[in-house]
Symmetry: C2
Subunit: 256 residues, 2 copies
């Protein structure tokens, strides 16, 4: 039977800057009764990665520029918050009431550069995305391998909106140890015809799956254990995978 | 333990126009050793729904208009194929070499109106999306309830590209018996703060998860059994859910 099983890890505490996330994850695995096996992936919510890495900004420390004030007026957002978004962005794509879509420093096209106020203790602090979530995933993977002897894949995910569809979906911010983009070009379909669909954003599909299990709200389950990814995911094999494989080059972007 | 388990059904045959899909799915459930339970969802690939409903067009029967010839030249696509895409579309959003993005008759923004040549027996036939995949899902759900006595949720999924990210992801075309869009507005996060992320495209997240298990190629597993969706999905309860909840209204579309 071909199965994909996603399990929310129990017992993750509130994470604070400097916490050893690998150790917390290993404790949560034990609390949930899961023994890691080769081929497994751990999906970790951006929020706990950002908190552990201390990616926090105090809004009281921010002096908004004239541009942040302008965009704040247009969008109805706190100009200090807008300034933090601008500091994390390469380009503003759209600014209308309630919406500020940017390309962030990492190349992600997302609302507010992914900067969030929910689930952050302290009323005036905002949480940035990790500066390099591939590197965050890689460090976590290596630390978990050191603690357990098992080399898993690690995904850092977040929830992003989309251009043409309502609602957010889980989306990959960083990967280590499995393929983000699976290339099927040249493979034959059941009729022996070459496949039209050539590249599958596996890490985004997995981020969406994990997001269902994590929940968005008060569940407090920011880590999900995944077992049963297909061989094409190359879990434990893909050493140089990166979420950058998922970012459309500007030259191919028809909707900016 | 909070689990989401997705299982590829074994023994699905090649589907032909007029086939009783509910009966084929129930046989495949039995072949895979799965007994349906309340709260389960069945994810069914668009291809088998379209095939069962006979949504096929013979390219030899198509007479392309001047506009289809023009767009064929621009995109490098067969003008007869372009004509079928135009017949299925409300609006062409982008046409450049290799790419034809439209809003289709159902409101989906997608490449080539989702019309596919892979996995279709016969060299000169193309497969359209079902005219109303919510209705397809509802009929399948009712027929499966009649055969098994269990009312599950049904999802029809396909693989769509995205504006800013490479690779396709599983995306919902139709739903019945569970919420496509879960509204968290007003819920509190762990700190008691109102959640910023308010609406989650659950059906799209589930479509992405199911797509991992279905595969794109020669696997021949177009039906996936899902167990363990959260209570917010309201499986078996949501009677009037629709994929239309996921389609961004034109007034709110900033990227057309």
């Amino acid at each position: 039977m071909r199965n994909l099983t996603l399990t929310a890890l129990e017992g993750m505490p509130e994470v604070a800057p400097g916490d050893d996330l690998a150790r917390l994850v290993c404790r949560a695995l034990a609390a949930t009764g899961i023994v890691l096996a080769p081929g497994d992936v751990l999906a970790v919510a951006q929020k706990v990665v950002s908190k552990a890495e201390g990616c926090l900004v105090e809004l009281a420390s921010v002096s908004p520029t004239a541009r942040a004030h302008d965009l704040g007026r247009i969008t109805g957002k706190d100009p200090r918050y807008v300034q933090v978004v601008l500091d994390q962005s390469r380009e503003v794509l759209r600014a209308v009431p309630g919406v500020l879509v940017v390309e962030d420093l990492r190349g992600f096209v997302t609302a507010n550069a992914g900067i969030d106020q929910s689930n952050v203790p302290g009323t005036d602090r905002v949480l940035l995305l990790p500066p390099d979530a591939d590197a965050s995933a890689r460090r976590l993977r290596q630390a978990i391998a050191a603690l357990t002897g098992v080399t898993v894949g690690v995904l850092v995910n977040d929830s992003f909106g989309r251009a043409w569809r309502n609602g957010v979906v889980g989306t990959a911010l960083g990967v280590s140890g499995f393929e983000a983009l699976v290339d099927l070009r040249g493979q034959a379909d059941r009729e022996g015809r070459t496949l039209r669909i050539s590249q599958v954003a596996l890490a985004d599909e997995l981020a969406a799956a994990a997001s269902i299990v994590m929940g968005q709200g008060a569940e407090g389950t920011p880590v999900v254990h995944v077992r049963g990814l297909p061989a094409q995911a190359a879990v434990g094999v893909a050493e140089d995978s990166s979420v950058r494989d998922l970012l459309r080059a500007r030259a191919g972007d028809l909707f900016r």
